[in-house]
Amino acid sequence: MNIPKQPLNQRIFKYSLTSLIVISAIWSASGLEITLDRILNAPAQIATLVGAMFPLDLSSEAFDRIIPKVFESLFIAWAGTVIGAIFSFPISFLAANNITIGSVNRVIKQILNGIRAFPELILAFVFLPITGLGPLTGTLAVGIHSIGTLGKLSSEVIEGIDEGPLESIKASGGSKINELTFGVIPQVMPTITSYWLYRFEINLRASAVLGVVGAGGVGQELINQLRFRDFPRAGTVLICTIVLVLTADTISAAIRNRIIKGKTVKS
């Protein structure tokens, strides 16, 4: 049978990519001194740790400590998302190339890229000496990082709109402001709202972690319990975090689904 072969340059590209991946994996493994011995021991070690977490510490004293911290993470994530949404919304119009005049959008986009480049944790420990230990620092860190990411996503949504409605508003004598409020915002709002909720899901994970540097939230509790070798309580912290994240994810995904679906039914 005559099976056609892939063209030569494609095959060369494929093989060189594969060898690049293999070589970089070997280089990394040898550089990190990961021996076969350690890999083989790891599953048993992990199983021992997980085994030490059970039975979980279900005393009311443990819950009195953990539950407020879990909710603190939730509040940090939500407040951070609100900050991100409020500030990124106007900025995203300036960053969209079909709304702004001149090269304003390029400057704003670079600023957003710059903000996005710093992970929340790094922002958090830079703010820490200024805003103090506590959830405020975490909120600021999450909020500022969200401005960067939401600004980028929202501006891309605005750039992808249908220009027709804008033209018809202009043709019927509408001002630039009318174009925005009646032409752009109704088109982009469902997608942007679902991005806000999506960002909230990501921020929830980020805010859970922020406690590691003392910026509030459940991370502080986990690292303390692990340091004191109180594994049953660490297990409880983990389970509480998982329950919170799963619940928030499910609710947020359901709302996002409803927003996007509602759009397709109406149109």
């Binding site: 550089g31 990190l32 603190e72 509040f75 830079v126 200024i130 994970r205």
Partner: protein, 260 residues
């Protein structure tokens, strides 16, 4: 008189959702305990941070952090490769299109969801306790991180593949596994490569902070200097990281364009 069409009344979701969202936002801000007086007091010692932050010690950073930076990249490379390789078969089991057994589909899907709920740094904390402090724990943590993301992205891609080729393979007498291997896999391989590059970028970013809990990489250097508030040593390291991250992202964007 023009006959305007009536505006549809807002749905229940909007009527309840928006006030509830606003109330919850106000409640959250109250819970965070924003106190303007404290904020003003604290703002007066901002020079503690800002002065050293803009007085970077380049020579020190270059001398002390370049090894750790290489370690960070190695952690990200190894973790993203292994994580994605493990996720490839798993996602076929976690998709309704390729897994006909309802129960095992549910088990794999829930497993991936469960892995995804635990944040990357939590994995790092768990693994540093389990296998000891060092880059190996970091690799394991990012492995779980990339496994979770790839599992979600790829299984959803498999859900939406064109069923035609699989049916055609079955019509020629292929078993279910053969039809998955010859018809479903080639359909998603380009997506898999694109997701892999995307996850590699995420891993590079995530690996920077692993060191804060002792899981290796450049975060280790940042953590030790952070405790002593040596922001003059931290800021050049952050700039170095940014440069490396941007270079790697550019490379990955170039490669993705070449593949797709």
């Amino acid at each position: 008189m023009i006959n305007y069409p009536k505006k549809p009344s807002p749905s229940l979701l909007v009527l309840i959702g928006i006030p509830a969202g606003i109330l919850f936002s106000i409640f959250s801000f109250l819970q965070i305990g924003f106190n303007f007086q404290d904020f003003k007091n604290n703002l007066s010692n901002r020079y503690l941070v800002t002065d050293p932050l803009f007085d970077p010690k380049w020579a020190w950073a270059w001398e002390n952090s370049s090894d750790a930076l290489v370690e960070t990249i190695q952690i990200a490379i190894l973790a993203s490769i292994i994580g994605c390789a493990v996720a490839l078969p798993l996602s076929f089991y976690a998709s309704r299109a390729t897994n006909l057994n309802k129960y095992s589909y549910f088990v794999y899907k829930s497993f991936l969801n469960l892995v995804r709920t635990i944040p990357d740094l939590f994995w790092a904390m768990i693994f540093t306790v389990a296998v000891g402090i060092g880059p190996f724990a970091g690799v394991l943590a990012l492995l779980m991180f990339s496994l979770a993301i790839m599992g979600k992205l790829l299984s959803e891609t498999i859900d939406s593949i064109d069923p035609g080729p699989m049916e055609a393979a079955k019509a020629t007498g292929a078993s279910h596994n053969q039809s998955v291997f010859t018809s479903a896999l080639p359909q998603v391989l380009p997506n898999f490569t694109a997701y892999f590059l995307y996850i590699f970028e995420l891993c590079i970013r995530a690996s920077v902070i692993l060191g804060l809990v002792g899981a290796g990489g450049v975060g280790r250097i940042i953590e030790t200097q952070r405790i002593f508030l040596r922001f003059d040593r931290i800021s050049p390291i952050i700039v170095l990281i940014l440069v490396v991250v941007i270079l790697i992202e550019q490379f990955s964007v170039w490669l993705r364009r070449k593949i797709l």
